[in-house]
């Protein structure tokens, strides 16, 4: 029930203790929670470098040429968060077709932030996942979430 900005301030203090990175069965690395999380709670911000979307293609090519995985999240038509080289643990959140979290762009005091919220109560130790929104591209990427409701492909 608290205002978003107040919840965000609280998140800044707590996110670090609440989550950690582990070897995930979904994909290489993943994010898990180190304490119980209530439904609707703010879990972590998808923090990174705020770049103009016209820089995305060049950066993607650059990361590919260096064999670095690309961690980007679109805020709106013009702006993207690039967490590949500057970011926090949220970059490791995996996709699931049956997620326990969801992502929302929230306006905090005039600035847009991508925040990951809990869809339901999540017990300590569970992997945190959300339903990625992928750009529509020609080649299909197989989904490895392994849930019964899996859509088999990421885009």
């Amino acid at each position: 029930e608290l205002p978003m900005a107040m919840r965000y301030r609280h998140l800044r203090e707590t996110a670090r203790e609440a989550v950690g990175v582990f070897r995930s069965s979904i994909h290489g690395r993943g994010l898990f929670c180190k304490r119980d999380i209530d439904a609707g709670e703010m879990v972590i911000e998808y923090a990174g470098q705020v770049i103009r979307s016209s820089l995305c293609d060049m950066r993607e090519k650059d990361y590919e040429s260096k064999g670095i995985g690309c961690y980007m999240f679109r805020i709106d038509d013009d702006t993207v968060i690039d967490a590949t080289m500057h970011g926090n643990a949220a970059r490791f959140i995996n996709h699931s077709c049956d997620p326990n979290c969801y992502s929302r762009v929230v306006d905090i005091l005039g600035k847009k932030h991508i925040i990951i919220f809990a869809l339901r109560r999540i017990l300590c130790g569970e992997e945190l996942t959300y339903d990625y929104k992928f750009p529509i591209e020609e080649d299909k990427i197989p989904c490895t979430c392994g849930t019964r409701r899996c859509r088999k492909y990421l885009n």
Binding site: R52, S53, S54, D78
Partner: protein, 118 residues
């Protein structure tokens, strides 16, 4: 009259009321004029009213498809002349063109020479 376009520009650019001046900041982007040409020799002039420390312009000609969120001369649809060092750009490749560059107070003339046919 040929003016700076309101609907053919990067939204973050600010055009003056008379649509004869444009101001931008924080990252290259593009504005086009309301009119284009398709053949013959054409020439347009502009004046650099202000150029604060560290800011630059890239001025020239481009086709309809030049990317509005990149500097003129970024892709194959545009040809530009940069105020810093007077370099000319096309497809993101800079070539030495004019010693020293241009800046505040300069009047620039930008000519294009197109074939009469096709």
């Amino acid at each position: 009259a040929v003016l700076l376009a309101l609907h053919d520009r990067a939204p973050q650019l600010r055009t003056a009321d008379d649509r004869l001046a444009v101001t931008g900041d924080k990252g290259y982007c593009l504005i086009r004029a309301t009119h284009g040409v398709s053949r013959g020799v054409w020439y347009w002039e502009c004046t650099i009213d202000e150029q604060p420390e560290g800011s630059h312009t890239r001025i020239g000609w481009c086709q309809q498809l030049a990317n509005l969120q990149a500097p003129l001369g970024y892709d194959k649809f545009g040809y530009s002349w940069r105020s810093r060092k007077g370099t000319v750009f096309h497809e993101s490749r800079g070539k030495h063109y004019f010693e020293g560059g241009f800046g505040e107070g300069d009047v620039l003339g930008i000519m294009i020479d197109l074939p009469e046919k096709n």
